[in-house]
Symmetry: C2
Subunit: 238 residues, 2 copies
Amino acid sequence: MSGPAFKNWQTIQDEVLRRIHAREWPPGHVIPGEVALAREFGCARATVNRALRALADAGILERRRKAGTRVALHPVSKATVDIPVIRREIEDRGRAYDYRLLTRETAPPPPRVQAELGLNGAAPCLHVTALHSADGAPYVHEDRWISLATVPQAAEADFTTVSANEWLLTTAPYTHGDITFAAEGAAHPAAEILTCPEGTPVFVIARITWDHGRAITTVRLTYAPGYRVRSEIGPATL
Amino acid sequence: MSGPAFKNWQTIQDEVLRRIHAREWPPGHVIPGEVALAREFGCARATVNRALRALADAGILERRRKAGTRVALHPVSKATVDIPVIRREIEDRGRAYDYRLLTRETAPPPPRVQAELGLNGAAPCLHVTALHSADGAPYVHEDRWISLATVPQAAEADFTTVSANEWLLTTAPYTHGDITFAAEGAAHPAAEILTCPEGTPVFVIARITWDHGRAITTVRLTYAPGYRVRSEIGPATL
DNA sequence: GAGTGGTCTAGACCACGGT
DNA sequence: CCGTGGTCTAGACCACTCG
């Protein structure tokens, strides 16, 4: 009868967003509690909870026990970037994937890698470099160190047919990781391998992955010029 | 009595992840339905639902009505990148923020911008360029077009004290957006403004935001050399 | 058509953390 | 202390979609 029935959590989420945008609830404002909103909207508290929790995950609301729920002072938008396996990334764009192992050796890692993997100097690591191509053109250069302390099976994998990228995912799944995007000038030897002059602006992704606190691998992916990462932003993200 | 009680959704999530990692449920495998799992774990179906839905959001499970829930064939890890206001981004690192408006003019946008904003040629836009600095050093160059059709109030804002970045967030909040990360060679005039030679590898973020399907603004952020974007990755499995 | 996930309800207990 | 969000329960109906 009277306006839209606030019966599902999405409707409630929209209404809350509307009040925020309309400045009925300005940034920093403490909004009514779940019980009050449930009464107002004529629904169960769990439904309100679902809507508010989603908005809190998106960074629009800040919730604390006893203190209540308030509109975030500084709305932090979040973009979720998909990190697929490189082969999939290429094949999904309808291009032919090719993989070539360049080097593979067991060696003590340089200090930078030791620090990233949280190792002491003596720990042996597997150093692998490879080239992934799309339609015959260089796509990305992979420079990877694998911690043999965490993944001893890697010592017996040769990585000639299956990339370390995929082998690790199927063999040593990670629990969490850290990723960095940067712009750099192509350096030796990635520049030659990607067949571009040294200093050419290239997109670099550096990634470290762990399994329950034990470092698995650290990798630098140097993409051929022109590579881009696209993503979507929005209030309803997860 | 017997092992851990699967009473909360996090415990159930961990157990499901364990079975996936242990290959009890290999990729592509259709796992038992919610009712069956609820019976096995001795909890309510809603609790199982909460755990499985979270894993589906993370890209580890794929759920479809009637077809059931299956382990994803190709695990897509997701990294969530925070997109703060530039001033916050600088101040949160303990650096002094400074903002300077460079140009501001009403003009018909070039074809590229017209296409991005979904406008026809006649629609007037506001073109704003500015420099954000950290500790007195150039931090990022902002090149922005604002659709006056969507945000007519922008015509009266001067953007000398408050950046368009912040003004838009408080005045015309967006519902969703699109973002692209790329590496490029610094070009005129951003190169001079960032005080680096043309061609220097720089990180570029291009962003378009909409409010319910109406384009608000498109912006190119050219960061000074050395800029990086960091993020964390959630669990992935294959 | 029937089975699965998606969601809502009304009630309950718990844990955290301001006061 | 005690209010608030966090979560669980047992049951129900709905919506999608596969067969």
